[in-house]
Symmetry: C2
Subunit: 501 residues, 2 copies
């Protein structure tokens, strides 16, 4: 585990803008250029979007629904029109109309027809639909129109199938590091607290007219991103796909399944076991990290709690790192994506049954119903296992050369500011059952691996009370570079808790 | 689940031999040619092996160790020499010498040197070594020498990497449907009970001299296979790789992890929970299937037990079938093999920690220590879940067009006659930790999926007491074609229990 001391990320991720005032962020081993967002930048949007008279948002899933509304609100008065394109017979048309995108006012139409009239075309339809229909979309683009993506899936798909993006078109991505619902909700909160929002990465994959960076930054500012940092489409695809299989969704599900049963078998009643496992991660642990960083979770414990945290961290870090490395290999090699394509074919005949019906989640309902204003204390075992797994993902991303902004957003900030609060309001299984198909399949595939690693390796090691080795990851945690990177990222956004209904 | 009624396997799998007396076996929807083995056929071996003066067995893993000894014993007095080839510095050399393969008597040497002197070269080295070194082996073969394999891994590897077998050489496979240890132990028992042994499939992949079938059959007879049936290298690779991830290893591990905790949480003491879950599958359930077939497990229960069996079968069949279909897709597509290659690279730096150290297996030791002559009764819940998963694998293989001999051997006979008895003597985790790397990685990958499906889908459905649907798999079980196929296979071998030390 020596690699925890020597993360390999040290490239300088810099870029320039002709329109927006950029900042330089100190990160472990170097600097990264970032754009701090906010409503004060909205007057710059027309210049950054010069030549763009129509923005097409294709799809009305969580991202399309949030981005179309944020963009329309941010671009009000600029003369730039935001239109929504849906596939024929889309069940989402009624909701789009209810939010003011209608055929009558010319802001709702067939997705290919809409794409053919726009200068910036944001393809936010589901991965499977994009895999099937991207050639029709490419053919529909008007000359020189910019293709926008909100994650790197299509690049992965094109690479795996020997395809390519259409030549002559700028290809960019702006990727909010949170669910669509959060992108909209924090944007609304941003009306009162300037800069509230979900961080985003951007990538310029093709830039034939030399204006792709400013166009991307404008898109991100208009979404309400408090911080926009640069990545590549490939790094975005990898960190996004690994992250949702890891600590964002798959790992958190697997770990709480294991810990819940562990506490039950130790004699806790179901509600207590739930509060010590699942509700502990989604509640006090997530909130502590969000407000005060990773180290604060340990620092908030008493001496005995810290010792228990260290034992759990020490036992969990290695197995978690092994799993994240395996996921990363599978994603980078294309196996994971090929598996999703194979699954899509099977699921046409055999739909994926939901997992939200197991007794654990009924206990969660009871726990939520009985939850007062106070919060249960952080459980040191659960905290050690969870924080070790989160840090293991950070370590793997650092070793693979991702920018620190991407690392902390995909491994920490997206979890504690977007996903975990939503899981706290519903439950983890609900989130797994209701996220994108690619994420859902990935979480179903990898979550059980984290559960098994916890049950078969981590908890037995704790039971044996293994002594720390020479490369004790728990000792390395105190001086881990992630703390510096996270503090740098935290300085760039207003402290605002997401409002979860 | 209508597919359980209409398996698509109905091809006639026939072949001819110039040497051995073949038989025709009736299977659901057709017939298959098979060779019934036995020591009375040993006098035919020289004719079938005409032109073969030396057989090289490369590798001294479980298969190499067993096959080299069986072949030497069977070919005693024929003038055909069996020699063992090992890679330089092999840690197995001492054990090979202890079993009479020595440099002094010319039956032990460097693997490539030995390969260059033999007419039949059996490549029984580990998959990873074969993946790395097969080109050196191909180059070492003398003109016209036959290359023999004991499973289809190398075909999968060559297909995935764009390689091919060397032209001009017969390429055959004889694949015992059991572990190497069983291949040897049952061969020894075969000295007293003619025909005791492990069934084998054979495949002729290249046959430039027209004698590959008889050469393969001779190899199989000399190993002691009571029944040899025909397949293709591709079908062998798929069913073998899927089977070890499914009911042979991965599924059985995942299911007993889930059921053990289920009984514990229901209030059983650990030893009782172990006897009702793991020891139930590896003991009475396996023995019942081995002696009297799958239906006998249900028939041996009382009325309440049958009802509980049916409920469990009904709940488990669909989720198990979904998982087996997923595994099959991943194997057939090459994803699974690419994953193994990626894992091999990672494991060079981070070895796979064993999973045998969890408290469950310590309970297993206590259960075994306290085990009397009597056997605990079949637990209907465990039996229903296990038999449904086994039948789901049968259904998937049938739908994918495998011969029935292969289906029942890879899904039922190998489990109940070879693997489960060994697991009963040690435990499941020990077997996972000590099988081939490909199987170990696969079981680690897929076992947790079966555990999660059991915990998140099967047991909750049982708890809800869902009513049977129109295509109730539990109702289809009574008239399932697997019973006919298994009965046909059973008629072909003497009833002998494997002796497990």
């Amino acid at each position: 585990m020596a690699e925890t001391h020597t993360p390999r990320t040290h490239t300088t991720h810099s870029f320039t803008s002709a329109v927006f005032p950029l900042e330089t962020m100190e990160v472990p081993g170097g600097t990264e250029t970032i754009l701090r967002g906010g409503r004060h930048l909205f007057p710059l949007l027309p210049r950054a979007l010069e030549g763009v008279r129509r923005v097409a948002v294709l799809g009305w899933g969580p991202q399309g629904r949030a981005q179309a509304r944020n963009l329309r609100d941010s671009l009000t008065g600029t003369g730039i029109e935001v239109v929504v394109g849906l596939r024929p017979g889309s069940a989402s048309a009624a909701d789009a109309r209810a939010h003011g995108f209608t055929e009558e006012n010319g802001t709702l139409g067939d997705w290919l027809a809409v794409a053919a009239t726009a200068d910036l075309v944001l393809a936010l339809i589901a991965d499977a639909a994009l895999a099937t229909h991207h050639r029709a979309l490419f053919a529909a683009l008007r000359p020189g129109a910019t293709l926008g993506l909100s994650h790197g899936f299509l690049l992965g798909h094109l690479t795996a199938t020997g395809g390519d993006f259409p030549p002559g078109h700028p290809v960019v991505a702006v990727c909010p590091k949170g669910m669509g619902d959060s992108v909209r909700r924090l944007y609304e909160q941003g009306a009162h607290i300037n800069g509230a929002g979900i961080n985003a990465s951007f990538a310029v994959h093709a830039d034939p007219d030399g204006r792709a960076t400013d166009r991307s930054l404008a898109w991100s500012v208009a979404l309400g991103s408090p911080c926009t940092f640069r990545t590549t489409l490939e790094n975005e695809y990898r960190s996004d796909t690994v992250g949702e299989r890891g600590i964002l969704l798959g790992a958190v599900h697997g770990l709480v399944e294991a810990l819940y049963r562990h506490f039950l078998l130790g004699g806790d009643d179901p509600v207590t076991a739930y509060e010590r496992s699942c509700a502990n991660v989604t509640g006090p642990i997530a909130r502590t990290i969000s407000r005060d960083g990773l180290r604060a979770v340990r620092d908030g414990l008493g001496p005995a709690g810290r010792e228990a945290f260290d034992r759990a961290y020490r036992a969990a870090h290695g197995p978690a790192r092994d799993l994240i490395a395996e996921i990363y290999d599978e994603v980078a090699d294309g196996n994971e994506l090929r598996g999703v394509v194979l699954a899509e074919r099977r699921l046409a005949e055999r739909p994926l049954p939901p997992i939200g019906g197991s007794p654990m989640w009924a206990v969660g309902d009871r726990a939520r119903a009985g939850r007062g204003a106070g919060e249960p204390p952080v459980d040191p075992l659960t905290a050690g296992v969870f924080v070790a797994t989160m840090t293991a993902q950070v370590d793997e991303f650092a070793e693979r050369g991702h920018p620190w902004s991407e690392i902390v957003n995909e491994s920490v900030i997206e979890a504690v500011d977007s996903l975990l609060p939503s899981m706290h309001a519903r439950d983890v299984a609900y989130m797994v059952d209701n996220c994108s198909r690619t994420a859902r399949l990935g979480a179903r595939r990898w979550g059980p691996r984290f559960q098994a690693a916890c049950e078969q390796l981590v908890l037995p090691a704790l039971g044996r009370g293994d002594a720390p080795g020479p490369d004790d990851p728990a000792a390395a945690f105190a001086r881990h570079p992630v703390h510096e990177a996270l503090a740098a990222a935290a300085r760039l956004r207003p402290s605002v808790d997401i409002a979860v209904s």
